[in-house]
Assembly symmetry: C2
Homo-oligomer: 357 residues x 2
């Protein structure tokens, strides 16, 4: 089913409003989800709406949060999200970071007591629009095993870095620190296909190609897959995200991060509040004039795009470019939703008494 951006946006705003969000929060949360759907990152868009509703029903998401700075210096701050939607808390944190950057060159915000924040790229793009470099990370419920471990101790903990270019789209590097995303496993499960060696291990810690191993107590592997190929580096990156997002802010970290799914209860011995993010912004002109930076980033992009490749039909991909192409196309053609998602959304519509899709 193809649905127009405006129809899906209105529907999503109506759901958030029905959950008790004020109109500003409802519009912002819908904007974050729609941005994912527009950019082709379907796993992080309206497909998650049902999950947010279930967490709200369990009172694990507060739709009327008092989001506030609880500690700060000129360029650093800790924000408490009051168990609000990460879709609303993270843009608040980025706003704080950007205000500090406008005054002092850079701003850095560690966030506690939040929830899933959607695509990291949304938050970094706020900075890019102001000629700042954007940083965004979040920890997440444990699915990944460190090198040598047979336990799930880290989330897929994404990191995102975004840079404003001149005549080209911004360079947006937005990546999980695991070898494969959970969404890719789910596709293999649905198709009954094996997955490549190096994505997951079973509950004993042995590498497997069975996509169902994750649900039977297995784990995703860090970027690098095994020690020989640098999985200790992927573990190090996931650890960096966890420490900056949660040990620094007072959120839960490691295996204590509460699950995103409502049918799993949070740990009964929390070490902090909710999940954590780390958000930052630096003014480009804190380092060199913006025009100079953009001329050189354009040159960088051109050189990498024009690289010789193994297969002449497959060029080097500049991070962020395919997502922008999807956004342009979907704004015109509409957003494709699979039947399962449409059904889920229409069940929500019935529950809240709003118009179906």
């Amino acid at each position: 089913m193809l649905i127009t951006e405006s129809a899906l946006r209105e529907f999503t705003e109506n759901i958030f409003t029905a959950m008790g969000c004020n109109i500003t929060h409802a519009r912002l949360a819908a904007d974050v989800l729609l941005k994912a759907d527009l950019r082709g990152i379907d796993s992080h868009g309206v497909a998650r709406l049902n999950g947010y509703v279930r967490l709200w029903e369990k009172k694990r998401i507060n739709t009327n949060p008092d989001i506030k700075i609880v500690h700060q210096t000129a360029t650093t701050a800790t924000v408490d999200g009051d168990a609000g939607l990460g879709l609303v808390v993270a843009p608040f944190a980025m706003q704080v970071a950007m205000e500090k950057a406008a005054l002092y060159g850079s701003g850095w915000v560690s966030v506690r007591n939040s929830n899933h924040f959607g695509i990291a790229g949304y938050h970094t793009m706020m900075a890019v629009k102001k000629d700042m470099i954007g940083f965004a990370m979040t920890n997440a419920s444990p699915l990944v095993s460190p090198t040598y471990s047979s336990e799930r101790l880290l989330g897929t903990n994404p990191m995102c870095y975004a840079f404003p270019a001149g005549k080209y789209p911004p360079v947006i590097i937005d990546m999980a620190t695991s070898a494969a995303a959970n969404g890719k496993l789910e596709i293999a499960q649905r198709l009954g296909k094996q997955v490549p060696d190096g994505w997951i291990q079973d509950k004993h810690g042995n590498i497997t190609t069975d996509p169902h191993a994750l649900k039977s107590g297995g784990a995703l592997l860090p970027l690098g897959s095994d020690f020989e190929h640098g999985s200790h580096k992927g573990f190090g990156l996931g650890a960096t995200v966890d420490i900056l997002s949660a040990v620094l802010s007072g959120a839960n970290y490691g295996p204590w991060v509460p699950p995103f799914v409502a049918f799993l209860d949070p740990p009964t011995d929390p070490v902090g509040l909710g999940i954590g993010h780390f958000i930052g912004a630096m003014r480009v002109d804190g380092f060199r004039p913006v025009d100079e930076f953009k001329v050189h980033l354009d040159n960088w992009i051109e050189r990498f795009k024009s690289s010789a490749t193994v297969d002449p039909a497959q060029k080097v991909i500049i991070p962020g470019e395919p997502e922008l192409e999807a956004e342009v196309a979907r704004k015109i053609n509409g957003i494709p939703l699979v039947d399962a998602v449409v059904n889920d959304l229409n069940v929500l519509a019935e529950k809240f008494g709003i118009s179906k899709l």
Copy 2:
């Protein structure tokens, strides 16, 4: 050959002094190299001294540099290293970052016109000693191909993040953004052994296990090895380092980064000055009280160290811990140097008329 720290330090300082460094610079540069040798990162210690000398002989390293801030805000700065040793320029940049952090919570320095800066961990540990979180990255001469490319366009571009703990050693994540380090290839070449799939490709961009392929026009692969296992993420990390270190500072980036070896000339069409670094420091107490942070980081470390593992004899490794163990042992037992390095160093001693090892 085992040599005491103090003897190797004195020797190294003498070489730098003979190259024209003032005593402060000579001591600092020697300290950076010794730290690598002590910590078991032999590829980045005195084994590189000969390489620095050769670059100096070609006038590509200036041993009497006027290192200065050329652009700044309260918390950001661009430093020009005046073609000095990165071993001296990077600590200068970290000092600037820490002074800004002391005043405003954080400090960020992009560096141009520098050279190889030794181990990134040295610079981040300067911050950790002051209860700050340390960041250090550098670009490097091109050896790595982006996903799909058959050209060398990026260096092994390391990133380092360091966090002060309480009763445990600091967590120091110091990693190249390639799947394997060049040093590991050189070992395989010497032993005449094949390397694992996923480390390198040949000059046509095909994955190979021949360790000599790199020298015949091949390339190292980004962390993740191939697209299926996330090499686009390793490419994204290497790109992030390149942009923050060089596009932001006005250094050379991508394939324009000058080679570290004196027998290869720098590109004749530079896009900037020398190589680039990116250095940062954030005060922990800009986010929460230091003691609280350390209690939780200790708890994080304990939980990960005590994780169940596939092989009970192989525990999860906390980044930075094996290096500290090596440092403690080598301070007592001495630093092992292979014959080839000792011979190289003694040739230098003869050249400069200083005492041999």
